[in-house]
């Protein structure tokens, strides 16, 4: 990667700096906001994972939250009193990623010949299957504890530092959520780099080729079945990691967190932001994570001030605006708010060999 120019570098520095001080600003408004930021980062993880499947490879996936759930349950089972296992997080997260990737492959295998709507229906079914499994695997052997979910999940621990308590470092008090924020931020950086590198690689190009014209891709030698499975597995593994972190942060999970509307929410983030464009997807995920929360905190006081009582529940307004935003996007910007740009590569050979003027 070449170093960006000076203004870009300055911009990058400013973004990095504001991301670093953000939790302090947020915690001034209440620790809840730091938690919201953490959840937003998790949704960025999920959106980036789904973007591999939907945005790069063009495979519509309505069951993506299943991998989030798989990752979360892997973490919960391996680090909670439920089985009495307490493995460290740096071991569980890769396991969760692998298990989710495996599930992605299992989902992908029977759908290889499906496209578009049909694929969407099958993936939707898969998402539900996983949720129902989680709900019912409390007997004959109590694997998932059913609808009660799993509680008292271990927080992330690094050496002596537990992420569930406050610590004072260099005179700064870091609360648990703030510590998670920095952990998530660091992991997010890794995920972004991985995504950037994947996109600009042999596999990434093959994904895009399949999205553009699967038959043509096969005819020039792309093993489409394998490459599609790779997309499913890779996308799912991001979901698995996000799920593990979710379980650690929440300390409690139940099948209710992994329902169809979550899948649709993640898909909406990808589509709203701009399928296939990393930065667009990140923007979409942040927008759809923060704006509803902002509404939650503003709509009620606003109505109290205007009408003296609560007319419409914040949750209802949230979903109304959410739907409206999607409809407007589809109508006026079907490619998303921040679509993919043409990637210019150095054409180092001498030009002037005909073709385009």
């Amino acid at each position: 990667m070449t170093l960006p120019r000076l203004p870009a570098r300055l911009g990058l520095f400013l973004i990095a700096l504001s991301l670093l001080v953000l939790p302090f600003a947020l915690s001034a408004a209440g620790t809840a906001w730091v938690r919201i930021a953490n959840l937003a980062i998790l949704f960025v993880f999920l959106s980036l994972g789904l973007n591999i499947v939907v945005g790069f490879a063009g495979l519509l996936d309505f069951g993506y939250v299943a991998f989030f759930g798989v990752g979360a349950y892997v973490y919960a089972l391996l680090a909670s009193p439920h089985f009495g296992l307490h493995l460290p997080f740096w071991l569980i997260l890769p396991i969760g990623a692998l298990v989710a990737a495996f599930c992605g492959t299992v989902l992908g295998a029977p759908t290889l010949k499906l496209r578009g709507d049909y694929l969407a229906i099958v993936t939707l079914g898969f998402g539900e299957i996983v949720r129902i499994f989680l709900n019912n695997l409390s007997q004959p052997v109590n694997l998932t504890n059913g609808p009660q979910g799993i509680s008292r999940i271990d927080p992330v621990r690094l050496g002596d530092i537990s992420f569930s308590q406050s610590d004072t470092l260099l005179g700064l008090t870091l609360s648990g959520p703030m510590k998670y924020y920095y952990l998530l931020l660091a992991l997010l950086l890794v995920v972004i780099v991985i995504n950037l590198r994947l996109q600009d690689s042999r596999i990434g190009r093959a994904w895009e080729a399949i999205r553009e014209d699967e038959l043509a891709a096969r005819a020039i030698g792309v093993h489409t079945a394998r490459i599609k499975l790779l997309a499913f597995a890779m996308g799912a593994s991001f979901g698995g990691v996000a799920g593990g972190l979710f379980a650690a942060i929440q300390a409690f999970i139940s099948p209710e967190s992994f329902v169809l509307t979550e899948s649709i929410m993640i898909l909406a983030m990808v589509v709203l932001g701009g399928m296939g464009n990393l930065w667009g997807v990140i923007a979409g995920a942040l927008l759809l994570s923060f704006v509803p929360e902002l509404l939650r905190y503003t709509v009620e006081p606003l109505q109290q001030a205007l009408f003296g009582r609560l007319l419409i529940e914040p949750e209802v307004i949230r979903m109304l605006l959410f739907g409206l935003a999607l409809v407007l996007t589809m109508r006026w910007r079907p490619v998303g708010l921040w679509p993919r740009k043409v990637r210019h590569r150095p054409a180092s050979l001498p030009t002037g060999t005909g073709g385009c003027p």
Partner: protein
């Protein structure tokens, strides 16, 4: 001409329901040859292409390619064996640049996987640089070097045809199968295509050509096979085929039906 046989079809048959698209097709293509496949619309030319390149499964018969039985169970195996094709109705990756289209063509001849892409180690970077260089070379070779960073879907019709050929060449084929490359081209574009295909042959490639433009086929091909209703009715050098009464009947029909031949 006694060049070795590159491709031979042995009794290829293919039916769709009750429609017999191909029946007992035998033909032989020698290395370094430009071999034309002509026939009226619906004669089975594209079906033959699709059977050869693994998009259709043949009901009977098999192909031999470069001395070995060709595995036509999957298109990517055919491509790996050394047969690359273009499509009658251009099938480019429209939202990728011309350069990226050709880079995808290098997929078969490169190896880096997911892990290499993430780690970007030295071998992967070298391979990427090689892919980029080869793709650029091919764009220049096919005469569209200046289009490298344009989206494939925005190129002119003739340039899209050229790009499809460049992408096919990126797979390092021994045999290039062109499905009506001159369809919809104007006279100067067709002339350019002719020069390009002749250049390919001079560079050692064999070409299997489906084409409706009879002038182009007659001027370009070493030998021609004529299909009609799924059967081969003639195979010879252009001068002989041109005067074969069965070919004339097939093209003009026994009545006063007119065709572009």
């Amino acid at each position: 001409m006694t060049a070795p046989v590159l491709l031979s079809a042995h009794g290829i048959g293919k039916s769709f329901g009750g429609v017999r698209a191909l029946h007992d097709i035998h033909l032989t293509l020698r290395a370094g040859e430009i071999y034309g496949l002509i026939g009226p619309n619906g004669a089975g030319k594209t079906s033959f292409f699709n059977t050869l390149t693994g998009l259709y499964r043949a009901d009977s018969g098999h192909f031999e390619f470069a001395g070995q039985r060709l595995d036509t169970t999957a298109p990517h195996r055919v491509a790996a064996a050394g047969i690359a094709r273009t499509f009658q109705n251009i099938r480019l990756f429209a939202n990728m640049t011309a350069l990226e289209n050709v880079m995808v063509g290098r997929h078969l001849r490169s190896r880096s996987g997911i892990l290499a892409a993430i780690l970007r180690h030295r071998r992967q970077r070298a391979e990427e640089a090689d892919i980029l260089r080869r793709a650029l070379e091919l764009l220049h070779y096919t005469g569209i070097g200046d289009c490298a960073n344009r989206l494939a879907g925005t190129l002119s019709y003739g340039d899209q045809r050229r790009l499809e050929i460049a992408r096919a060449l990126a797979t390092e084929p021994k045999l290039l199968a062109l499905d009506e490359p001159a369809a919809g081209m104007n006279a100067s574009e067709t002339a350019g295509l002719r020069t390009l295909v002749q250049g390919l042959r001079e560079d050692g490639l064999s070409v299997l050509l489906i084409e409706h433009d009879v002038k182009l086929v007659m001027g370009l091909c070493d030998r021609i096979a004529v299909l009609d209703y799924g059967e081969k009715i003639a195979e010879d050098v252009p001068a002989v085929v041109q005067h074969d009464p069965r070919v004339i009947t097939a093209y003009l029909g026994s009545g006063a039906e007119d065709d572009d031949a």
